[in-house]
């Protein structure tokens, strides 16, 4: 039996290859993901190992404590026996001022100590390490981005925001710090680093010489003392978590791709088995048992899966290498290694490929065992055609899952408390409903075919009409072929709808609750204390005085209470803005401007802390604490968060006079551009102050959403390509099946071009059926998700995108038909008439 199977496979190499291609793509994506993430991890690990090798012993805060090392510890470590040299790493904020006079980036650059000598763990790419209060080095990638080089003089802001001038004496690759990759870094000698950042503690103490035990006892048990290799391991572990997230995300798309592959494989095998009825029956006639037939089909699937997986592995290696090369061209500062193919990758890729293929072939294999030996003697009926009735099982499954999906989706969208739980329920309902659609799709093929085929059938003449009826003649086959496309298009439409609804919701919220033109803000602080980074009050006064501006509102935020942690935002907002610039929705109580002695609280904060209207709560500031009564709880998409106090109360508990944020509107009649220019002029000389317009913010948000959508689209694109292979596969198998039919048409006067067009239209109809189903599902559940998200959510359908998806699917379907159509058109009429 094995021999028969292998001989059969060898005789149909092309068929084998086409089927295997679906698996190849899915496995290629999965193994590519592994290759990419493994290589990324290895590259970073290597860098860490190299960096840590310069250190004999390192003292770090206890893992997970998030604490610092006091400066007194350094002295203790230095005095430990055998220690030749010990340096503390200082790390804080030191905002580099760019060539445009504004601080670089949304967050200030990292300011760090860069030791000279043997304990220098960074690579020096040019120049030398800094010494003294007027020298600094720049992170190589930052320097490149901001166009600085050795010999330049740069301005860096200290922790009080005062500018200091430094000569750039070197470029150093500080990229092993994850922060630095995004923010960039400026390096100083240890003393200057303390002065600039204002940070007097260390994040790490590196030691040369000395025994680990001795240093550990000198440091004390409240700190971790690690050897060099241990340090490398810990750094690598923290980084490994990042690559794990990337890996998991990519594998999710790999899973979708494999699901589509499984459908394609299932369909291909089902068609092949149906076409080889006679062959199966003949085998049964000459004595093959059902078991042998079953085994034969599965062996074939195994071979196809193996070939597909191995090809996929090769493709994955290429894909991973390609992705690495692309990442390498961006200046991310990420350390990259050569593409790496681990044993794990090979095992996973081959296992996934083979298992998915064999599982997909199970049902067709079972169908093959049901062929009666006498079928070999009967004249063949066309497989999959005839009157179609959905079996009771499929009907039941379709009805059950469809109704359950609709019901749960409805509950999630309309009946439940908005939020995550409702969204998960809708997602679950979407999955259920989709299963229902898979089961019921064969029954939908004919009506959908009529709908989709109406236009081409009317315009395309006889070939198109024949094509439309061909697409409908084997509903099961067409259903599985199209469903594969539905998955990709459906998910894409879902994302598109959710993204567009999200953007619309955000815009509507801003318009309704927060109609401002500009936002003036300081560069985000390192997150330690917002009060450090604020809009100076003299600038706020200057802005209020600008004739071009109408309403100006500012919010002040209290610093953290002495000795305590800040667990909520304590803020005060210009009183006059309540009801005009700031429109809050009341969840409960009154949310007008808080009067002295009362506060209003944002919904989420109220929930976390259990605050209720009428309750008196203790509000802590950096200077004091006050018992205040909660007057109301508000919601609404405004940037105002936490607990809002009256200005007089705020001043009693906080010394903060500068504003966290200032919002302004252009005066009626003044063009927004003029107002903007005035604001820009007023903020000149404040390097950390950033002016943003709401229009820009919206653009940024929309752009970010679109980028995300593009990435999703690219990743889902694979699932769509696999589905197209499915269409090509189904079509070429159908072409084989209809050899004599095509010959008859050719004899009756169908030209080659018309025959090709016929197959193109058939592919078009199938692709559009699949895409349309996906779009309907995507929009439907996109609506449900949007509704489940929040009460204020606005549902928006990106019509242009959706139409684009369907059109794209149609075009791609036509492309998928090119090869099968060529083959059909090439066939000789006379030979085809004689065949079968």
């Amino acid at each position: 039996m094995l021999k028969t199977t292998l001989a059969g496979l060898a005789a149909h190499k092309l068929r084998l290859l086409l089927t295997a291609l679906a698996i190849t793509l899915g496995v290629g994506f999965i193994s590519g993901t592994f290759v990419l993430t493994d290589s990324m991890k290895t590259g970073v690990d290597k860098t860490f190992a190299k960096s840590a090798s310069k250190v004999d012993v390192a003292v770090l805060p206890k893992k997970g404590s998030g604490g610092d090392l006091p400066s007194s510890l350094l002295a203790r470590v230095r005095s430990a026996p055998g220690v030749i040299e010990a340096e503390g790493t200082v790390k804080g904020d030191a905002a580099l001022v760019g060539r445009d006079g504004k601080a670089v980036g949304d967050e200030p650059t990292v300011g760090a100590s860069v030791p000279s000598g043997r304990l220098l763990r960074y690579d020096v790419d040019g120049g030398r390490t800094p010494k003294g209060p007027s020298e600094a080095v720049l992170d190589t990638h930052l320097a490149k981005r901001e166009n600085f080089k050795v010999g330049d003089v740069v301005s860096v802001l200290d922790h009080k925001g005062r500018p200091h001038r430094f000569a750039v004496v070197g470029l150093v690759d500080m990229g092993i710090d994850s922060d630095v990759g995004y923010r960039g870094a400026v390096g100083f000698d240890a003393a200057t680093a303390v002065q600039m950042t204002g940070v007097k503690t260390y994040t790490e103490i590196d030691v040369r010489g000395g025994a680990k035990g001795a240093i550990a006892s000198a440091a004390g048990p409240q700190y971790d003392t690690l050897s060099g290799p241990q340090l490398a391991q810990r750094l690598a572990k923290a980084n490994g978590a990042d690559t794990k997230v990337i890996q998991a995300g990519l594998l999710l798309f790999g899973f979708v791709a494999m699901l589509v592959s499984a459908l394609v494989i299932y369909n291909t095998f089902a068609i092949l088995i149906a076409q080889r009825m006679r062959e199966m029956a003949l085998l049964r006639c000459v004595g093959a048992t059902r078991r042998q037939i079953f085994g034969g089909v599965l062996t074939e699937a195994f071979a196809v899966g193996l070939v597909g997986s191995l090809l996929g592995l090769g493709a994955g290696l290429g894909l991973g290498a390609g992705a690495l090369a692309v990442i390498g061209t961006f200046d991310t500062g990420m350390a990259l290694a050569a593409p790496e193919l681990t044993v794990r990758t090979i095992v996973v890729a081959v296992l996934v490929g083979v298992i998915v293929t064999v599982l997909s072939a199970l049902l067709p294999a079972r169908a093959a065992t049901r062929v009666a030996p006498v079928a070999a003697l009967r004249s063949d009926l066309e497989p999959g055609s005839g009157r179609f009735r959905l079996g009771w099982f499929r009907t039941a499954v379709a009805a059950l899952f469809g109704l359950a999906g609709l019901g749960l989706g409805g509950v999630g969208a309309l009946g439940m408390q908005k939020g995550e739980v409702a969204m998960y329920l809708v997602a679950f309902a979407g999955g259920l409903f989709f299963l229902g659609v898979i089961a019921g799709m064969p029954a939908l093929v004919r009506p959908l075919g009529r709908l989709v085929g109406a236009v081409p059938g009317r315009l395309g003449g006889v070939p198109a009409r024949l094509a439309v009826s061909n697409a409908q003649r084997a509903p099961r086959r067409t259903a599985t072929t199209t469903i594969a496309l539905t998955i990709g298009i459906g998910l894409m439409s879902l994302f598109a709808v959710v993204a567009s609804s999200g953007t619309a919701t955000a815009n509507a919220q801003l318009d309704k609750h927060f109609p401002v033109d500009f936002q003036v803000e300081s560069q985000f602080g390192g997150g330690k204390d917002a009060a450090d980074r604020a809009v100076p009050h003299d600038l706020v006064a200057k802005l209020r005085a600008l004739p071009q501006l109408g309403e100006v509102t500012d919010a002040r935020e209290a610093g953290r209470p002495k000795g305590g942690a800040r667990d909520m935002t304590v803020t005060t907002v210009t009183e006059s803005s309540f009801g005009s610039m700031l429109k809050l929705d009341a969840e409960s109580g009154s949310v007008s401007a808080p009067k002295p002695g009362t506060v209003i609280v944002e919904k989420d904060t109220a929930r976390t802390h259990g605050y209720r209207v009428g309750q008196t709560v203790q509000v802590d500031g950096d200077r004091g604490s006050l018992p205040l009564r909660v007057a109301g709880v508000f919601s609404g998409d405004t940037p105002v968060r936490g607990v809002v106090l009256a200005a007089s109360d705020f001043d009693r508990i906080s010394a903060v006079r500068d504003s966290a944020t200032v919002w302004a509107k252009a005066k009626p009649g003044v063009p927004v551009d003029d107002a903007r220019a005035a604001v820009e002029a007023a903020t000149h000389g404040y390097p950390t102050i950033k002016v943003g317009s709401m229009a820009e913010l919206r653009d940024q948000f929309t752009k970010a959403v679109n980028t995300l959508l593009l990435i999703f689209g690219g990743l889902l694109g694979l699932a769509i390509v696999i589905a197209l292979f499915g269409i090509a596969n189904t079509l070429s198998l159908s072409v084989v099946e209809r050899t004599r039919e095509s010959a008859l048409l050719r004899a009756l006067g169908l030209t080659r071009r018309q025959l090709r067009r016929m197959l193109s239209v058939e592919a078009l109809v199938m692709a559009v059926i699949g895409a349309l189903t996906g779009v309907v599902l995507g929009i439907g559940f996109g609506w449900a998700v949007t509704n489940a998200m929040a009460k204020s959510a606005v549902f928006a359908v990106p019509y242009a995108q959706i139409i684009g998806f369907v059109a794209l699917a149609g075009v791609a379907g036509v492309l998928a038909a090119v090869l099968p159509a060529r083959r059909a058109a090439k066939a000789s009429v006379v030979e085809s008439l004689a065949s079968g």
Partner: protein
Amino acid sequence: MTSTFTTPPPPQGRAAEPPAVVATEVSKVYGSGDAAVHALRGVSVGFARGAFTAIMGPSGSGKSTLMHCLAGLDTVSGGRVMLGDAELTGMNDKQLTLLRRDRIGFVFQAFNLLPTLTAEQNILLPLELAGRKLHRQWFDQVIDVVGLRDRLGHRPSELSGGQQQRVACARALVAQPEVIFADEPTGNLDSRSGAEVLGFLRASVREMGQTIVMVTHDPVAASYADRVVFLRDGQIVTELYQPTPDTVLDRLKALGA
């Protein structure tokens, strides 16, 4: 050998008209070198307009190949084929396709109909492919002659073999082609259905003046024709006018088939 290039006795007094299809020294070779198979070796024959001609011969005599070459389904290796004033030899695929569409009708042994179309749609297919207008009256007449009035809405899978062949005949007739080629049209039918189809083909010649060329190996089927042309080893060896099953059989025996 005897290259007959004669016009048959006029069945309906149309001696003056030129033949509908003429083959001159047609040869057909498959493969090349030692493996070359000479399917046709210089066949010259004419088929009269308004006549029913049968081509007979043992298996491998080249009768199907001849029909394919005459009908523009296959290209010849040498010689000429004329359909009326059109020379088929030298036409490209597209020209041949359009010629078949506009001027030739076909009835094959099996798989004559498209399974997705109803009987009526199958019958009208050549007209629709050509974008030609249907003469309703003519259509009705053909349908009544073949007796398919109550079967028009059925798909092929719902028709018997005889009914399917009658649909195929109707399809060939409705388009009123210059010539109909029938390739073993009764090969798959029982004798009663076969007789029906043959009687019907003969009637279309007698009453409608249709030209038919039929390939068959069945002497009874051949006896429905006005003239039988005998082929052996790719050459025309003899012919017979006003055949009966017995005379056809005798001639076949004489050929040593």
